[in-house]
């Protein structure tokens, strides 16, 4: 029989065969040698995982056998070796197969992890007629826990317990052994109803007692984790209870807790600050500090020598919290036995702007830049740092006042509901403010206006459209329409 017959290829196509032969030679770059193009395409254009066999290394075959040869090599790659072998045997191509002989055989095996010597069968990769040696590859995963086994005498001597009978203890240990210390399962299967903690307590207690009893000397086992940290039932029960409580907290409760914690923190902070402020030995180091301390202690009666601003009562509240922060920062700075002036300034700046949001801080920095002041002083002497800090605080005050002003203007405009006559008056005033301030920090004013407007929107209800008060005249008619 001709190979060609088997493969169903017409006999007359000599040129095709020749083409086939020449093709591997012609396209060595495009695909690896030794694989026909169609089969290569079958693999999705990728080379097979096994290295392709170099054709030239093998004995030259007459063209009629080559096709079989090529195909059989590919079947090798796809693991159908038996078929290949049969094929080769049939067509005397045994010598063309490479040296390694791989077969797959259906063989019996045993698992050392089993105790019953059950013999099962599976496919085994046989190399050169030699089956693989060694234990079943999954046997090593059969791990188990070393559960303590006590004798009856030991029980009598060390392990008796008023809460537990011997049978119960025995049952417990049997279950532990069986279920690899999975206490949840054990608790489910335990005949009498005992909680997981009780079971654990008994188990660990017994193990510990046995360990200590069997040890030649107590010091030998003192390092053992069971001896070092014994199981604490009450702690465990408490812990689990707390955990479940936290888990089952409603959103409402969570919020309340957060509020309480924040309040507590505020109280401790203010307490610490007042303690630091009351300390009569305020360092001469920073006259800012002493100024703040004076203010905190004397509550604004005395005018400290270097202060030339009279803060209105409305802004006293934020300033006292700033004072508290500064005082505590100073105290902590004093704790450090040595520090850099720049570090100290950073801390004080942070303390002063602790009540301000990120946006406000950015606006302060913007203002500093517009004023031509370095954000971080180039020559940070004591005097320079103090001035810098004061300037920052003053800018904060300025920004607060701007917000206040715009808020009041917006508020004021609400009083004029129904009186269109007053409209001309308002733009004049706000224009004035806008113009005069434009020389200094025009952007921050506008910023402030927009933001205040938005805040008003939130606070006064959805209907309002209050926008930058610099031109309320334009806005108000629109606002009125939506209001009504």
């Amino acid at each position: 029989m001709d190979a060609k017959d088997i493969l169903g290829i017409p006999k007359t196509q000599l040129p095709t065969t020749q083409e086939k032969k020449s093709r591997p030679q012609k396209e060595p770059q495009r695909k690896p040698d030794g694989i026909s193009r169609e089969v290569y395409a079958l693999t999705g254009g990728l080379a097979p995982l096994m290295p392709s066999i170099d054709v030239s290394q093998l004995k030259k075959r007459p063209p009629s056998d080559e096709k079989v040869y090529f195909l059989s090599i590919n079947f090798l790659h796809f693991g159908m070796v038996n078929d290949v072998l049969n094929c080769c045997n049939l067509y005397n191509l045994k010598e063309s197969i490479p040296c390694i002989q791989i077969t797959w055989q259906w063989l019996p095996f045993t698992n050392s992890a089993r105790k019953d010597n059950l013999q099962l069968y599976h496919w085994v990769r046989v190399v050169n007629g030699v089956p693989p040696t060694g234990d079943y590859s999954f046997a090593k995963y059969n791990k188990s826990v070393d559960v303590v086994k006590y004798t009856d005498e030991e029980y009598e001597k060390y392990l008796t317990d008023p809460m537990w009978t011997k049978e119960e203890t025995d049952q417990l240990f049997e279950l532990c052994e069986r279920f690899d210390l999975r206490f949840i399962v054990i608790a489910d299967r335990f005949p009498s109803s005992r909680t997981v903690e009780e079971l654990k307590d008994r188990y660990y207690g017994v193990s510990r007692a046995i360990l200590i009893a069997r040890a030649p000397s107590p010091t030998d086992v003192s390092g053992h984790p069971l001896v070092k940290d014994p199981y604490n039932v009450s702690q465990e029960v408490e812990r689990k209870r707390a955990l479940s409580m936290v888990l089952s907290q409603t959103k409402h409760q969570e919020r309340k807790d957060a509020e309480v914690l924040a309040e507590a923190k505020r109280i401790t902070d203010s307490r610490m600050a007042s303690r630091a402020a009351e300390e009569p030995e305020m360092p001469v180091a920073s006259h800012v500090g002493s100024e703040s301390a004076d203010r905190a202690v004397v509550l604004g009666d005395t005018v400290s020598p270097s202060s030339n601003i009279q803060l209105p009562s409305a802004t006293v509240v934020p300033s006292t919290s700033i004072i508290a922060d500064s005082a505590s920062t100073l105290a902590s700075l004093r704790m450090l036995r040595v520090y850099l002036r720049t570090y100290a300034l950073e801390q004080m700046v942070q303390a002063a702007s602790s009540s301000a949001g990120l946006r406000t801080i950015k606006r302060v920095e913007q203002a500093l830049q517009e004023l031509g002041v370095n954000l971080k002083p180039k020559v940070p002497t004591k005097a320079v740092c103090a001035e810098h800090l004061e300037l920052r605080k003053e800018i904060l005050t300025l920004l607060n006042l701007q917000k206040q002003l715009q808020y009041k203007e917006a508020e004021g405009s609400s009083y004029r509901d129904g009186s269109y006559i007053d409209m001309p008056g308002t733009p004049k005033r706000s224009q004035r403010a806008g113009d005069q301030d434009r020389t200094f920090v025009p952007e921050s004013i506008n910023f402030g206006g927009e933001r205040v407007g938005k805040r008003d929107q939130k606070r006064k209800g959805p209907g309002r459209l209050s926008e930058a008060p610099s031109s309320p005249a334009h806005k108000r008619p629109r606002k009125k329409a939506s209001d009504l």
Partner: protein
């Protein structure tokens, strides 16, 4: 140091509550035994010692002699701001270089506290200052980014004119010990506030002779010509002007607010039937 001068004013004999000095005096009176104790290691309150320093680097391009890995010769240092000897306060300075250097931890045991090396890369150098025992037992860290190449990339590198980057800062000791204070009372590298009235110090330790001093200060340092000058005057002026502006605006805003308050008050009183 406005506050110290004001404390000087208020100090003697004024009974009213103002200024920290009086409080200090009150403490001194209430704890006489402490003042009398003359414990050399006792910490002082209300007196801080500050050491103005300048730290940074000077880097020279090696020009023709430059190789791929050694294109610049640089010196990193910590010096007194007025080039005074820092050895009176600093015992040792440790410069932590990039790990690609041999022995990247370089300790300098005596002033001037500087380190010269050659290389090609810019990296952050951590400088740890260790102080004398009576000064402070905790070290202080400074960080300086080594600069070799000029800011503007188009700027041609010259072997004559180095790249210099310096930072000014002050080391502050908030509660110096008596012995430290005594030792450095009159030293030019150290800035002391005016001591409160009624405060006695042990007699000052005589300054070491000039020959010893010359070695530690950087006044005649070979690189001294490149050192930058840091004057607080400019910055103070700048800040004072800025503060004035801000205060003026604050005053104006307050007037406006009070105006509106007044108007609203009026409106409220007239609109109530």
């Amino acid at each position: 140091m406005t506050n110290s001068s004001s404390s000087k004013k208020h100090g003697p004999g004024q009974p009213e509550e103002s200024g920290p000095t009086l409080k200090l005096q009150r403490i001194k009176m209430s704890k006489p035994e402490e003042a009398e104790k003359k414990n050399l290691n006792k910490k002082l309150k209300d007196v801080e010692i500050s050491i103005p320093i300048v730290y940074g680097n000077v880097a020279f391009w090696l020009g023709k002699k430059a190789s791929e890995y050694q294109s610049h010769k640089w010196t990193v240092y910590v010096r007194g701001a007025t080039n005074e000897d820092l050895g009176v306060v600093i015992k040792r300075a440790v410069f932590q270089l990039h790990s690609s250097f041999n022995n990247p931890t370089r300790a300098v045991e005596s002033p001037p506290f500087e380190l010269s090396e050659s290389g090609w890369g810019e990296f952050e150098i951590a400088i740890t200052l260790y102080f004398h025992a009576d000064v402070c037992d905790k070290p202080l860290n400074l960080y300086h980014h080594l600069k070799l190449y000029p800011e503007d990339e188009s700027g041609s590198m010259s072997t004559k004119k180095p790249v210099v980057v310096e930072s000014y800062d002050e080391i502050v000791f908030p509660e110096p010990s008596d012995s430290f204070l005594a030792r450095v009372q009159n030293h030019p590298a150290v800035t002391l506030p005016r001591l409160p009235v009624g405060f006695t110090l042990p007699p000052p330790v005589p300054i070491e002779d000039t020959s010893k001093r010359k070695r530690g200060d950087t006044k005649d340092h070979p690189l001294a010509q490149w050192f930058m000058n840091f004057s607080e005057a400019d910055e103070l002026l700048q800040l004072a002007a800025a503060r004035q502006q801000v205060q003026a605006h604050i005053a104006k805003l307050k007037r406006q607010i009070s105006l509106i308050d007044g108007q609203q008050q009026q409106l409220r009183s007239t609109s109530d039937p």
